[in-house]
Amino acid sequence: MSDSTIGTIPGQEKPRRLLSLADSERFLGSAFLLPAVIYIIALVGVPFVAAIGFSVSDVTVGSTAFDFRGFQNFEAILKTPQFLRALSNSILFAVVTQVFVIIGANLIAQVLAMDFRGKWIARFFIMMPWATPVALGAIAWLWLLDSKFSPFDWVLQRMHLLGPHTLFGPRLHMVFLGREQLAMASIIVVNVWRLTPLASVILMAGLTSISHDILDQANVDGSGFWRTLFEIKLPLIMPIMSIALLFGMIFTLSDMAIVYVLTRGGPVYYTQVLPVWAYMKGIEGGALGEGAAVAIFLFPVLLAVVIFVLRASRRMEVT
């Protein structure tokens, strides 16, 4: 009778049991976490382990027999010139894209956070590139950057910047995707186009959450636009900005649609990135083991980004 505490009526034992189960934080905690844990194990854990397994085997699309090959796949990859190029491209695209995204998103967020007529429409249109499926957007850009029919070529010709005796030389077409530097720049531009909306909205949310009193105070203290921006607003949204940065980095690093649709890594392999290369090797080329090994190289890069940004944001956290 030790657990028959005061107020317990014998007939009410059963509902009490249920109630206490629903009251137990340990039970509820595990119960609510379970779906997330299953989800992560099934969709992240299993593929991740499988990828590690594949990367040390000779599995191909044709033969699923698992033969352990140690680090031979990695050695083979490291020997190719594509590897370094794909790795450095991945990092370069991610970093340069984010530089432009953060600058652009800050500008857009400043404007969007203002109070003006039709700001809802403006916000809606800004979000469009983000809401478009990435492959569709990339195809649209493929047309825009076409070697013969690019509208940019047409505009440049009209502006007398392209064609004989002009800035961009005697050619009639830029061939954006066919020249090493232009192709790399094009990929960065499309990435910026795609990622700026999300970052803008995240930053706008950060900006609008700054208390009006703080901004009014800065105003009364004599601070002008730039001082308020750099000394008050930006530091206050720094934590949220680093989250936007983290998202953007990971999206660029792990995205394959843009490069795959625009250039397939070409010309030659100058715009190759790790995910596209892994896909081409593993799925299109059928060498699952080598493909997995390439994909694995993304992991330490992503991990480093995540750790760096989260640590930085923790340090900058204010309130």
Partner: protein, 343 residues
């Protein structure tokens, strides 16, 4: 040090008349208290003086210069917000130095001026902390230090004490006042607490519904209230008002005493008082009841100091009296004070 002149200022938010034709002059070095109930436009008036709101009409002069169209930074006005609005990511030092930086004061002066302000307000040990590591009272002092460090022409304080507990509030009130006297900065202080207003102000401006009701010394607004709003808003409880012969007769509860307790030589007006309820408040006794010939819903209150030990019972009909000099007369329609009327 400066004067502030507010000339017929109105501020409308769509159809809300937050300020409705206020004219007010603040003298050099004065400590003016803006007193009024919640929503009467005190904050809006302060924000208009600071330049954070643009008046719908009227003009604002600081030191005789028309600043109506100028942005806040061109007005040399410091403001302490109700929320203190400290910059959460800056240390106390950097919070206080911010106005100096923003106003382009030479770098060499920063350190001495910040330390001076911090010393006056007892913040020397806290200079490296961040706002979230401070108590409410300390935050308030940081906000004050930030306001005074630049030696502004005018300081606007919007209910800076309202977040403090009663004890801290009393000491903060003291500190603030000594401090203002020492600096001699023209100060406008907002509060809806009349005790605070009475105790601190050189003059009190009583506002209601966006209008200025009365401007005067604490003693003036209390004893010579300009209208029924001021008369009933000030005092706890406020003035009793009884309709009589087409006007309103007013007298304060502390002047409304049992006939027996009145000094015999004074000229008095007597009332039969139907006692409904008695409340003991320690130092005082409040007697609620209805004065003879007054409508049933007009409750009058008498406040007897505990020195008056005369027993008063509920349901008793007792004779009370007010000295003639304590009677006030108000117009029944406009509520404005009028000259003495035949009783």
């Amino acid at each position: 040090m400066a004067t502030v002149d507010i000339n017929n200022v109105t501020k409308h938010f769509d159809d809300v008349r937050a300020i409705d034709g206020v004219t007010l002059s603040v003298q050099e070095g004065e400590f003016l208290v803006l007193l009024g109930p919640s929503g009467c436009g005190k904050t809006t008036l302060m924000r208009t003086i600071a330049g954070l709101e643009h008046p719908t009409s009227g003009e604002i002069l600081i030191d005789g210069r028309n600043v109506t169209g100028l942005p806040p930074r061109a007005r040399d006005v410091a403001m302490v917000f109700q929320s203190y609005a400290l910059y959460p990511h800056k240390t106390v030092f950097n919070n206080i130095v911010f106005p100096l930086k923003a106003q382009g004061i030479p770098k060499e002066e920063w350190d001495t001026r910040v330390r001076e302000a911090a010393q006056v307000l007892g913040l020397e040990k806290l200079l490296d902390r961040r706002p979230r590591q401070l108590s409410g009272g300390e935050r308030q002092r940081v906000a004050l230090a930030r306001a005074m460090v630049r030696d502004p022409k005018v300081m606007l304080l919007d209910e800076p004490l309202s977040n403090l507990d009663a004890k801290l509030r009393a000491s903060a009130r003291d500190e603030l006042q000594t401090f203002q006297r020492r600096l001699g900065t023209t100060t406008i202080f907002v509060t809806h607490d009349q005790v605070e207003a009475m105790g601190m102000g050189d003059r009190i401006a009583v506002m209601s519904g966006g209008k200025l009701r009365q401007l005067g010394t604490p003693h003036e607004v209390y004893t010579e209230s300009a209208d029924t709003f001021v008369a009933t808003f000030l005092g706890s409880p406020g003035m009793n008002l009884i309709p009589r012969n087409g006007y309103l007769l007013g007298f304060r509860p502390e002047n409304f005493l049992p006939r027996e307790a009145m000094p015999s030589q004074s000229q008095i007006e007597t009332f039969r008082f139907d006692v409904k309820r008695v409340e003991y408040l320690g130092a005082d006794r409040l007697i609620y009841g209805i004065v003879d010939h007054a409508p049933d819903d007009v409750i009058s209150i008498a406040r007897l100091p505990s020195a008056v030990t005369f027993p008063i019972e509920v349901h008793e009909n007792h004779e009370f009296a007010v000295a003639h000099e304590h009677l006030r007369y108000f117009d029944a329609d406009t509520g404005l004070r009028i000259s003495p009327q035949p009783l």
